[in-house]
């Protein structure tokens, strides 16, 4: 559906998920078309040859090398799109420390392995193809000794480019997994997809340049030190299989042009990955108007909010509700006046779904706060030994025991659901508890992880790292952080709008309940922050205070909507029938002391 178009004649279905699938399929096609343009642009960039002077760009645009490279980049790009549509997730796995990054790598080893394999493979293919396209001595796999008739020798440049491609692919895959790049980041504002993509390009280029700089800083020194040794080793292995020359064929490892070429080619490869990822994220997270496709748009929206099969679809529904509440007064008013339903008024259904998200988070946080408030018996226990760990009494055993879901015997990839961008969409690991390896651990993977566990827990550092901390469990509450933000802002915006748009007064009766939920969550968050934040440390003129970002951000969101409510309803606050506790909490906002 064209952006900004409101359909007057809709479809009878109110199934948000099925309508969403058709939208996502259209987006798939668009992504493939845009990917082609992207691949062509990068191919032109790859084939610019300054020897052609001012015509170099024109030459690059129509050279055969460009078309070959376009095909290659397109195939690689499609691969990245497919992989990301299978593996990207919407729910956040919070934590940004070094250990949290390691956890993300280990949480789902199949996913990590798949991503690593794909990026290593595609990097090798890209570098190989670029070498073939560009030609020259770099492209020859075998070099013959000059002046002698003899067997060839492996071109060291091949080894270098292969090693670079493998290292680049590995590094990029680790970056994607550890830095949570596979977690879809929903935009704060809505822009056209072209602008949204264009605005991300500079950051993408910066990332790519940073990547190239790091490769210079890390890869090449290591390669120069160990490269020749590795090369001779490889030649020795090849010499066992086939006859190779015993004469020296030179050392192209020290060729500046070859190094420059590899660097250039590697950078372009990373550029293909990075821009494709940005394209995928822009297209997937762009706000939709799925509910407007249905004749019963309100019911369709509620259906989407209730949908639990695909987290992406549910997120899109909440995003749609948020945009409806913020920017579409006509639909907002329609939603507030839609009361003639057997299942209850639309407002009550929408608010129920939004408040359910908040209430779930509040209950989780309240339980965790209560745990923290209890006296810590474990703290006085003697340090666990390896024997104790294997019997399940140690922190590590505790972590694995809390896995939750029963595990199948054979290792298998989770089947993709049919609503992703291309092919499917994988359900993300639930962040209900911050397990080290997650419930997916099974079979061979379980064996490896167990070994790893044993190795880790034998060291004091490992025991310390793997202990379940209060901070870690509180972070798990914010797995659906974005959804919570949309739910809170949407419901409170609808409440504000009800001042003028709620003709039947359906909202007014729910106000005490809504305020109690929001204020209750705020109280739990403040308790969480006060209980868990460590002591401030004086450093020079400054005091260092570590904070929990998600908790602080959510506190800001809640305060913002509560202040907005107080400002809007200031003249009517006295007439609200609030419980004394809620009234007291709200009074702090009225006094601007919250």
């Amino acid at each position: 559906m064209a952006h900004g178009t409101v359909l007057n004649t809709g479809i009878a279905s109110v199934n948000f998920a099925s309508l969403g699938d058709s939208v996502l399929r259209q987006r798939t096609v668009r992504a493939m078309v845009y990917e082609l343009a992207l691949a062509y642009g990068i191919a032109v960039l790859a084939n610019i040859n300054l020897r052609h002077g001012i015509w170099c760009l024109l030459y690059a645009m129509f050279s055969s090398g460009t078309f070959l490279y376009t095909i290659l980049a397109y195939v690689v790009g499609l691969g990245v799109l497919t992989l990301h549509s299978m593996l990207c997730y919407v729910e956040r796995v919070p934590g940004n420390g070094g250990f949290a990054r390691l956890q993300r790598l280990l949480r789902s080893p199949e996913r990590t392995l798949l991503v690593m394999l794909w990026y290593m493979f595609s990097a090798n293919i890209m570098l190989f193809a670029h070498r073939v396209v560009m030609g020259g001595s770099v492209s020859r796999m075998w070099l013959y000794p000059e002046g002698f008739y003899g067997a060839p020798q492996l071109n060291p440049a091949w080894l270098a480019s292969g090693a670079l491609a493998t290292a680049s692919g590995l590094a990029y895959a680790v970056h994607m997994m550890a830095d949570e790049r596979l977690q879809l980041s929903f935009p704060m504002i809505e822009q056209g997809r072209v602008y949204a993509f264009k605005d991300r390009i500079p950051e993408s280029f910066l990332k790519v340049v940073r990547f190239a700089r790091r490769s210079i800083a890390w890869f090449w020194p290591v390669y120069f030190v160990t490269g020749w040794m590795v090369y001779r080793g490889a030649c020795a292995v090849i010499g066992r299989i086939m006859r190779t020359s015993s004469y020296a064929v030179g050392n192209p490892l020290l060729s500046p042009s070859a190094i420059g070429f590899w660097l250039y080619s590697g950078t372009l490869t990373v550029l293909v990955w990075e821009l494709t990822h940005q394209l995928y994220e822009v297209i997937t997270t762009q706000p939709t108007r799925i509910n407007e496709m249905s004749r019963d748009s309100n019911m369709c929206l509620v259906n989407g909010l209730k949908h639990t099969g695909n987290p992406l679809v549910q997120h899109l529904a909440f995003q749609e509700l948020y945009r409806l509440a913020m920017f579409r007064p006509a639909q907002r008013a329609e939603l507030l006046t839609d009361i003639d339903r057997s299942s209850g008024s639309m407002w009550s259904q929408v608010s129920k779904e939004c408040l359910a998200v908040v209430e779930t988070a509040r209950a989780q946080l309240a339980a965790q706060n209560a745990d923290v408030a209890k006296p810590k018996v474990d703290a006085v226990k003697p340090k666990a030994t390896t024997t104790a760990l294997s019997s399940g009494n140690a922190p590590m055993g505790d972590i694995l025991r809390r896995g939750g879901r029963p595990k199948p015997e054979e290792p298998q990839l989770q089947p993709p659901l049919p609503s992703g961008l291309i092919g499917g969409y994988n359900v993300p690991p639930k962040a209900t508890s911050l397990d080290l390896f997650g419930p997916e651990a099974q079979g061979f993977e379980k064996y490896v992880l167990t070994k790893l566990r044993d190795m880790l827990v034998q060291s004091p550092l490992g025991t310390k790292l793997l202990a379940r901390t209060p901070q870690a469990s509180s972070l798990a509450v914010f797995g659906n952080f974005q959804q919570q933000v949309w739910a809170v802002r949407s419901v409170m915006r609808l409440v504000e709008a009800s001042l003028t748009e709620d003709s039947y007064g359906v909202v007014q009766g729910d106000l005490p309940g809504i305020l109690a939920t929001i204020l209750g969550y705020l109280s739990e968050l403040e308790r969480c922050v006060s209980q868990r934040q460590g002591p401030a440390v004086v450093r020079g003129e400054f005091v260092v205070q570590a904070t929990e970002r998600q908790a602080h951000a959510m506190i800001q969101v809640l305060r913002n909507v509560l202040y907005a409510f107080v400002v809007s309803f200031y003249d009517y606050l006295a007439s609200l029938k609030l419980t004394p506790e809620v009234a007291q909490q709200l009074q702090a906002f009225v006094n601007f002391q919250a």
Partner: protein, 578 residues
Amino acid sequence: MNSYRVATTFEQCGLRPPSTESVTVGESDMKFIQLKNGDDTSLLQYVQDGGIAFPHILVPEALKLRTAQSAVSKESILLQSELNNTNSVAGATAADSNGSAVATFVNSVLWLWNIKQHASTFTDQRRLDLLRLAESCMPAPVARIVLGSVNGTASAALAAQMEAEEAEGQRSIMTNIEGPISCIAWHPHRSLIAVAHRATDTVLLYDLANDTWCANILENVHMQGITSMAWQPCNGYTLAVGCRSGVCLWKLLPGAPASGYNSAQSATAPSLAWMSLLSFPPLPDVSESALHSNQLIPRSSTSVSALAFAPDGQWLITGHQTHGHLTVWDTALETATPLRRSGSTSRAATLSISVSPSGSYVASTHANNQLRLWETESWGSRVWSDFPANVSQLVWSPDSRSAFFSVVNSSSIFALAVYMGPPTLEVDISVVSTFEGHATTAVDDATESIRVGGAIRSLALDPTGQRLVAGFDADATSSDVTLLAAYMVNTAPLFRAGGDAHVLSPLGYIRGPNWGKQQKPHADDNGDGQPAEIITQVGLPAPVWFGFAPTFEPGALLTVAWASGKVSFVPMMFNGAK
């Protein structure tokens, strides 16, 4: 662009400016009350009529600050400003006076410290020279990529370029600022104003309800070169300060102790203040040395020149000093989304940003004479580039359907009328008033000739949309820039075809408090070696910032920061409530 519905002039309405020795107290019955030479008859009459007289606030040129304790963390930079801490300067002085071994030791340490500082300065200077040389040999972006690890120095070259442009007469956000006050921000819901002090790069808070300065003085090593400020609506006491590092987002917790949030003390009591630094692109991690030394932060792509909040406080939009891109921030989540539409060079730097009261539109003006209007649903924009000079900040009417602005070196006031609601950008721009510079006599002294009018520098529109105030630019015509011209506003004719009603009707002049009488050499010194004739003149400070309080029941409350450091409040009573 249309040019119709031009208002009648002040002279045609019989309005003449007050003499230089007068000061404006306020507006009552559509007339401005002027005081002169301590004659308080008018003031008495004004008060008897129900007028409110506000005392002036004086901000000194220099502030002697006591120590401030500040805080920084990986995720947010926090500051606690408490004035009652021990004064470290006094401690050092005491050590000096002890003499003998202690004094020798202290002197040795100081000597070593100075040597280290000199060496550090020398090294930095050489590195800067080297990088500038490199940047002169290759395109700036390439240089930034190659030498980008030293973010500050690459930016220093950009800053030098910016300063060179300023020297060439390019319009800059920093021009025309004089006196101790950079800018002022009214709290949207409370009687609290934040005053940015230019010399010390600090922010002072004044509580009008209690008529006193708050104990907190907001200061941080990152907060240098303050260009703009705004309070976040619907979020307690959160103040965004635009500076060279980006946006310093201060969260004040009134009366809160260091370990908690909830308290019910007055806003004037010493309170906890936390600061988060929002910079896009992100600045490198704050180093330990940076926290200890007050090193100068150069302008960079993160430097903010203008900022504004959405009316619901959910997002903040910033413009930058070295490029024309805007950045939209979700202040709760501290995430940034760039809007790259305008130019990427400092010639397109953002001069001002204003958000409409409904939050549906954002207007940004840029140093390349551009005016860009954005709608905030899908962030589409429309641009006007045919202005002869830079456009001043737009002031929106309360219904968000029209806005007023001026153009540098032009004596016209322009109106922008939005004909269709968002997200469409069906807009028309027209000239609604012109105030050509001319000489006239003072209203209370027929012998005194005053030159009024000329190029309009900036405008302010009151939140009810009934009063517009214009400030003038100092130009070759030497108009009296200390005068502000006030208009009555009626935006209805903008949306009516063929109407002959005026959009702006002259109301009167506003004059601020003068410096007092000053002696200075006569300008017509013939250079023959004879001492110049000393003349006595009344010092007239120019307004450096003016704007209206967000709410004022009797009408509108104009706040003017004068170059003398005085902040005056001019109430305009037109709502009938006395």
